[in-house]
Symmetry: C2
């Protein structure tokens, strides 16, 4: 493809993306395709001969678009917000156009240094102390694995450079709440701790980790000869945005010499607002903190912010420096390849720069406050309408609730709510996520798409009431 062919198709695709964003409200939020329906548009064999790219572009509308669930849709209320603001899209275009590989400072100095700037901006945005240093990871799952690996190596005195985990006499234990994200479970298993050494502890009525349960588990494990290695505190759980009590957890971590990892994947963006920072009070005691600018902040997936108190430890756990990767500047610069698992690195700092430049800190705060108010408005509807029941506090932008029509009990209520979610999602007019929390089938409305307005939230509520009434009883 020549640069001129690129120009022609590039302009066409800029128009395509702009038009896509404009017509989002007219598209079904949840893709209506059935399994296999997208795949059958494509030849199972690779093309023997190249064709002009222009000839395949119509497939974008015919095959791809019907198979997209639209995360930037104004009525996307599922999972968590994952906004890709348009400045972020432009940054990705530039990053792809530059096509440079940032495995070392030397192989792309601008990416390393802009990432230093971006991580400093993000640190200040959420009010982390200046003692923290940051790096972009792909996802919170990966960052949490990195955190548990660092915890493992701190507890074992870098056993990885000796006999590895098998050489440790006392089993290493990891703690989190039963409401913690599945990525903690996964990270603990992948890091080799073993499920038997992972404690998923009970929570209180607000679904937050009970410090007394943590304390008791630590005491019991120490008495049994185990070594507490890492504790994960979640600020804003996936199910209900519950807030684990970080200060108390931090004290226990310090008392046991355990690593404290704070998972604020969703909530991190809200920490831009000083009036909300009480939610992670005590975060300054953390060894590592993860949150996702690719969720609510509007920086396109993927962009996870991972800040640590001891970057030297991180580098020691993650680095290998063979001769072919050494460069003359190594003493004077950061080589972010030694801050994570992957060697090669994309230029993700560009989108942090573009989005924060376009929004400013005040713009981020305004957006967070707007979404919090929308969630409160929705919660009030739930609270004040007979037959509806809220199932958790709403400190952030997620409302956990269910419909409980008179006469239904037990499993029938669960089935009714699952059917209700199914009806909403199949309608294409909105998309929300059902979840089971402590055995109860609930509905989650997660407000946070950039395009979502008060009208969209009101329309969702009206549709819920209507669909709930239309469902067959029992």
């Amino acid at each position: 493809m020549t640069p001129d062919e690129f120009r022609a198709l590039g302009h066409q695709l800029i128009e395509w993306v702009a038009a896509y964003r404009e017509r989002l409200p007219t598209l079904p939020v949840l893709s209506p395709v059935q399994p296999g329906e997208v795949r059958r548009h494509f030849d199972p064999n690779p093309p023997e001969h190249g064709v002009p790219l222009a000839s395949v572009l119509p497939q974008l509308d015919e095959a791809i678009l019907p198979g997209i669930t639209h995360w930037n849709h104004p009525r996307f209320f599922a999972y968590f917000p994952s906004n890709s603001m348009l400045p972020s899209v432009l940054a990705d275009l530039v990053a792809a156009g530059l096509g440079a590989q940032g495995m070392s400072w030397q192989t792309r100095p601008a990416a390393t240094e802009l990432e230093e700037v971006a991580m400093e901006w993000l640190r200040q945005l959420v009010g982390l102390p200046p003692t923290f240093s940051g790096v972009i990871q792909d996802t919170a799952s990966t960052a949490t694995l990195v955190a548990l690996l660092c915890a493992r190596e701190r507890t074992t005195g870098h056993g990885q450079v000796r006999g590895g985990l098998q050489d440790e006499a006392a089993p290493l234990t990891v703690y989190a709440s039963e409401m913690a994200h599945s990525s903690i479970d996964k990270a603990a298993l992948l890091a080799g701790f073993g499920r038997e050494n992972l404690r998923l502890l009970p929570t209180d009525e607000a679904h937050a980790l009970r410090p007394d349960a943590l304390e008791e588990a630590l005491r019991r494990d120490v008495a049994a000869g185990k070594r507490p290695c890492a504790i994960v505190a979640t600020v804003g759980t996936t199910g209900t945005t519950a807030l684990d009590p970080v200060p108390h957890i931090g004290e226990l971590a310090r008392a046991h010499g355990a690593w404290l990892h704070v998972d604020a994947a969703l909530a991190g963006t809200a920490m831009a607002c000083p009036e909300l920072r009480w939610m992670w009070d005590g975060v300054d005691q953390a060894d590592s903190v993860v949150w996702n600018p690719h969720k609510w902040l509007g920086i396109g997936f993927d962009c996870t912010a991972y800040h640590v108190r001891d970057p030297d430890h991180l580098v020691r756990v993650m680095s290998t420096d063979p001769s072919y990767l050494r460069t003359a500047q190594d003493g004077a610069v950061k080589n972010y390849r030694n801050w994570g698992i992957a060697l090669g690195r994309r230029f993700r700092a560009l989108k942090v720069w573009f989005v924060l430049s376009a929004m400013g800190v005040e713009g981020v705060r305004a957006e967070v406050r707007r979404h919090l108010a929308l969630a409160q408005a929705f919660a009030r509807k739930v609270d004040t309408t007979p037959g509806w029941e809220r199932l958790a506090p709403v400190p952030l932008q997620t409302v956990a609730f269910r419909h409980r029509p008179p006469g239904l009990e037990g499993k029938a209520v669960d089935a009714h709510n699952l059917a209700l979610a199914g009806a909403i999602n199949a309608s294409g007019r909105a998309y929300l996520t059902p979840a089971v929390v402590k055995g109860v089938q609930l509905l989650r409305v997660s407000v946070g798409a950039t395009a979502t307005t008060a009208d969209d939230v009101a329309a969702l509520w009206a549709q819920l009431v209507e669909e709930a009434a239309a469902l067959p009883p029992g």
Copy 2:
């Protein structure tokens, strides 16, 4: 940013990218900036208020571009090719514009199904048997970690869901050649095996793993009560593109019940050519195979192809399925989140589709053959010019060599070649990588940028001869 503002800036940036690619030959290949020079263009504090994005775009030329090392430059001969062809850039624009998150089939069916198609295309492209199933990973480093985790769990009978690695009585051992990539070292350490259980084995004169050394190491470890867990065979090492003997290694792996992981990160693209597939004969015995379409194939970073023989095992090691991630289609579809570490997933299959559609299989083959011929031409110059010495066979596109002027010996030769690389790289006219292989300082010329022509290779050779003569003796 409104869609119309996006249109205006988007068209401007399409022009910017096109113009950047056009003027690549006029730019210094290696960025000439000093540490800190990019960073000082940016405010260390995030902007309090948003500004029109148009007002920051001039920084792309003023601050960013001077800090870019140009991997798509016609005289980029460093590390390995990492081409971002223009169709790939367009695919990334579309992926960012769609801004959809592929953690489950349901959250973006098109991404999952196009990835199935893309991985099938890539499998056929390189001639892997149809018994292999594939998934896109970010990098070979991550894929290799996944492979060693899967090996660990196979050997321990899924110890992760019990007491973890610490519960295993016999130490688990991992094998690779001393020329294997540093990511294998890193993966073995992160997976918890410990450096004492990693065997980096001697190689022959062509820098390929010696099967007798592997056999002896396995025998010794078994006799000492250890359990051979994984063997990594490299097809195309980083230093010299040496080819480990896969069939023999595969036999030994089978005999010991060890996992066979084939690392063809660079060489994978060349396997598009049937006449080159002898290089990884025996790959059908592998448990996992990794190669990087984001290297030589022209698909922009990141896009690693990871194919496995037993996807059920991969899913069992990698999956956690909490209620909030379950969907109605789970039995009928692939959920690629369970094929790797990260939960969220970008839409990388788009760029595989665009690039392979534009090139066709024949186009890929033609490009590989063109680069191989250029490398051979360069190797002939080295071989036929007095004072120059080739240090490894050239099965692919990398020439390892050095200048050995009369009268220089030992460390002085090393210093001379390091200075020569420094002179070339500082000139901005070409970029190559020095490396130390078996204690010898060598120069690596890695041919493979899309824009590289015979003239570029000839110019590099002329410059090497000229700079070598100009260096002060000793």
